[in-house]
C-alpha cells in the first residue's frame, strides 16, 4: 500500500512538472497528423493506401491492407521508442534527486518504509507515467488505423508493453545515477551518454573497441560492461520484430531485466549506506 502511495504521488509529481503533459501533447499532434494523413481508396484492382491524398502503395487485395501499414507502424513505433527513452528520461530523471533533497528525504524516511521501497515507488511511478503515454499513443494509433483504414490490429499494443519494459529497465540506470549523484543534470547526462556513446560503442565493441587491445582482461571488461547495462538497441530491434510478427530474441529481454535489477540493487545499496 505504501509503494502504491509512492507510485501515485510520483505520477502526480510528473504531471505537475508538465513535461509529461508536453509529451502527451506532442503525441496528440502526431496522432492528429496520422489521422489526417492516412486513408484508403478502393478501386476495381483492390485497395490503395493514400498518404496526404496521394497514392502511397499499388492496389492490393483488401485482406493485405494490414501489410501496407507495417512500414508506417515501424516508423511510428521506432520514433516512439526513441522518443520515449529520450523524452522519458528527460521528464523523469529529477524524481530521485528531488526525493533525496534535504528536508524531503527526512520526511519520507521517517515513515515506516524501507529505503529501497522509496526508490521502487519512484521508479514504478515514472514507468507507470511513461507506460500511460505509450499506451495512449499506440492505442490511439490502433483506433485511427481501425476507423480510417478498417484495420483493427491490437497486437500493435503489445509492442507498447515491450517499450514500457525497456524504459523500466533503462530507468534503473537513472535511479542509480540519481542516488549516487543526487543531481538531475548528471542523471540525464549519464543516461544520454550511455544511449548515444557508450551503449553504441559497447554494442559494436567487436568491430570497434576490440581493435584497441587484444588483452583478454580488457575484452572481458568490455563484455562485462555490455551485459551490465540494458540492451536498448537490441530491444528496439525486438519491438520492430514484434510489430512485424517475427520471432523475437528473448535474450535482450532477460539481459535488460537482469541489468535493470542489478542497477536498481546497486542504487538501493548506496542509498542504504548513506547518511541523510
Amino acid at each position: 500500500m505504501k509503494v502504491v502511495a509512492l507510485i501515485l504521488n510520483t505520477f502526480r509529481e510528473l504531471l505537475a512538472k508538465a513535461t509529461l503533459i508536453i509529451l502527451a501533447i506532442i503525441s496528440t499532434l502526431i496522432l492528429i497528423g496520422v489521422a489526417l494523413a492516412v486513408s484508403t481508396s478502393t478501386g476495381p484492382d483492390g485497395v490503395t493506401l493514400l498518404l496526404f491524398g496521394g497514392q502511397a502503395t499499388p492496389p492490393l487485395p483488401p485482406e493485405n491492407i494490414g501489410m501496407l501499414l507495417q512500414p508506417l507502424k515501424l516508423g511510428l513505433a521506432g520514433g516512439l521508442f526513441t522518443g520515449i527513452i529520450l523524452f522519458g528520461v528527460f521528464a523523469t530523471a529529477g524524481i530521485i534527486p528531488d526525493a533525496l533533497e534535504k528536508g524531503t528525504v527526512d520526511l519520507y524516511l521517517s515513515k515506516p518504509i524501507h529505503r529501497w521501497e522509496l526508490l521502487l515507488g519512484k521508479q514504478l511511478g515514472a514507468v507507470f507515467a511513461i507506460f500511460l503515454n505509450i499506451i495512449y499513443f499506440i492505442g490511439a494509433l490502433c483506433v485511427i488505423f481501425g476507423l480510417r483504414l478498417g484495420v483493427w490490429d491490437f497486437s500493435f499494443l503489445l509492442s507498447g508493453l515491450s517499450m514500457a519494459f525497456m524504459f523500466a529497465c533503462f530507468f534503473s540506470l537513472v535511479v542509480f545515477t540519481g542516488v549516487v549523484s543526487r543531481s538531475t543534470a548528471i542523471s540525464i547526462i549519464v543516461a544520454f551518454l550511455y544511449l548515444f556513446v557508450f551503449g553504441s560503442l559497447l554494442e559494436s565493441r567487436q568491430t570497434t573497441l576490440y581493435r584497441i587491445s587484444e588483452g583478454t582482461i580488457y575484452r572481458a571488461v568490455l563484455d562485462g560492461l555490455y551485459y551490465i547495462f540494458p540492451q536498448v538497441n537490441a530491444m528496439q530491434s525486438n519491438v520492430m520484430k514484434q510489430i512485424t510478427s517475427q520471432p523475437m530474441d528473448w535474450v535482450p529481454f532477460l539481459q535488460s531485466f537482469l541489468s535493470g535489477v542489478a542497477l536498481f540493487g546497486a542504487g538501493a545499496f548506496v542509498m542504504q549506506r548513506r547518511d541523510f
Binding site: M1, L6, N9, T104, D106
Partner: protein
C-alpha cells in the same frame, strides 16, 4: 519501559576524499526519556541535536552505541508506525495541497485511506489550517508550513513525537497555540521530544531538559533542577535592618546582602532560612516575601555553555 533510550550513542561524520576529516557529532550520548513526558534537547548550532533524532529515525547510521524507541531496539522500521516527526526545514512536495500532504504521509505511515478521511479534517482544525486545506503548499507561509508539518507529524496518531524547531517562523500567537497543542498531546499520554532554540518556550512546557554541546551531554534534569540556583533566597521586608542583625546573621549565613527592601542570603538548609526569619522578627523587621531565587533556563543554558567553552 522508556519511550527512548540511548546508550553511548556516537556519530562521527567523515568528509573529504583525499584528506579525510572526521567530525564528531555525538559522543557517548546516553539518555532515557520517560513515556508521557515533554523532553527537550537544547544546544547551540552543531551541538548534535538533529543528529540524535536522525539516528533514532534511521536517517543516519550511528558510529557506535545503541538506542531503542518504544521498547524496540533500533534500527526498526515497523516502530515508525508509532512515531511522528516534524523535521527542521522540511520541504513538502510543492505540487501537493495541505490536505494531499496529510494523505500522502498518512498512507506512508500505514494509515488506511478510509481512516485518513476521518482523521484529516480534525487535524487541520487542530492546527488552524482547515481553510487552506486545498491550497498548494508552495503558496504557504513559513508559519503555515510549520502548522501543516505538525499535522503531518500527527497524522498517524503517534505515541512518540519528534519536533525539530516546531515554532520556527511562527508568530507569537501561533507559538502559544502550538504550545497548547503539545501540552494537550502530553495529557493524552504522548511522549514529545523537542529540539528548540527558543528556551523560554521550552521552559514553559518541558518536563525534562537535556543540554548538549559539541556532541557531549552536559546536563539533564527537570526545568526546576536546571534553573534553581540552589541556595539563594530573597527576603522582602519593610522597615530597617539593623547593623547588629547583619553581624549576628553573618556568623551562620554564608553570604548576606541588603539592597533597598530586599535581603539576599545564601543558605544551606531550610533550618538556616527559618533561623534567619526568626532573627529578622526578633529585630521587629516585617517580612513581606520569601522567594527562592531562580535563573531562567536561558541564563542557565548560557552559563553552562560558557563554562564548557572556558574549560
Amino acid at each position: 519501559m522508556h519511550a527512548i533510550t540511548s546508550d553511548s550513542l556516537s556519530k562521527t561524520y567523515t568528509s573529504g576524499v583525499v584528506r579525510r576529516r572526521e567530525v564528531p557529532a555525538l559522543k557517548d550520548f546516553s539518555i532515557a526519556v520517560e513515556p508521557g513526558q515533554i523532553f527537550s534537547l537544547l544546544g547551540p548550532n552543531g551541538a548534535g541535536k538533529t543528529t540524535f533524532i536522525k539516528i533514532l529515525l534511521s536517517l543516519t547510521h550511528p558510529s557506535g552505541g545503541e538506542a531503542s524507541m518504544l521498547g524496540k531496539k533500533l534500527p526498526d522500521t515497523a516502530v515508525k508506525t508509532r512515531i511522528g516527526y516534524l523535521p527542521e526545514n522540511h520541504r513538502y512536495p510543492a505540487y501537493l495541497t495541505g490536505e494531499q500532504v496529510l494523505h500522502l504521509f498518512g498512507r506512508l505511515s500505514g494509515v488506511r485511506p478510509s481512516e485518513l478521511d476521518s482523521r484529516i479534517t480534525p487535524l487541520l482544525e487542530l492546527v488552524g489550517m482547515n481553510q487552506w486545506r486545498t491550497m498548494k503548499v508552495k503558496r504557504y507561509s513559513k508559519g503555515m508550513m510549520q502548522r501543516i508539518g505538525l499535522a503531518q507529524a500527527l497524522v498517524n496518531n503517534p505515541d512518540l513525537l519528534f519536533l525539530d524547531e516546531p515554532t520556527d517562523g511562527v508568530d507569537p500567537v501561533g507559538r502559544k497555540e502550538i504550545r497548547d497543542i503539545l501540552i494537550r498531546l502530553k495529557h493524552e499520554g504522548k511522549t514529545i521530544f523537542l529540539n528548540s532554540h527558543l528556551l523560554s518556550e521550552v521552559e514553559l512546557i518541558s518536563d525534562r531538559v537535556a543540554i548538549l554541546d559539541k556532541g557531549t551531554l552536559l546536563r539533564v534534569g527537570t526545568v526546576d533542577e536546571l534553573t534553581s540556583t540552589g541556595s539563594l533566597y530573597q527576603i522582602g521586608f519593610s522597615g530597617i535592618v539593623p547593623e547588629a542583625l547583619l553581624t549576628e546573621a553573618a556568623a551562620t549565613v554564608m553570604r548576606i546582602t541588603v539592597k533597598n527592601d530586599m535581603l539576599t542570603a545564601e543558605l544551606q538548609t531550610i533550618q538556616e532560612l527559618n533561623r534567619l526569619i526568626d532573627l529578622l522578627r526578633k529585630h521587629n523587621v516585617d517580612i513581606t516575601s520569601v522567594v527562592k531565587q531562580r535563573t531562567s533556563l536561558e541564563e542557565s543554558f548560557i552559563s553552562l555553555i560558557k563554562r564548557e567553552v572556558a574549560s
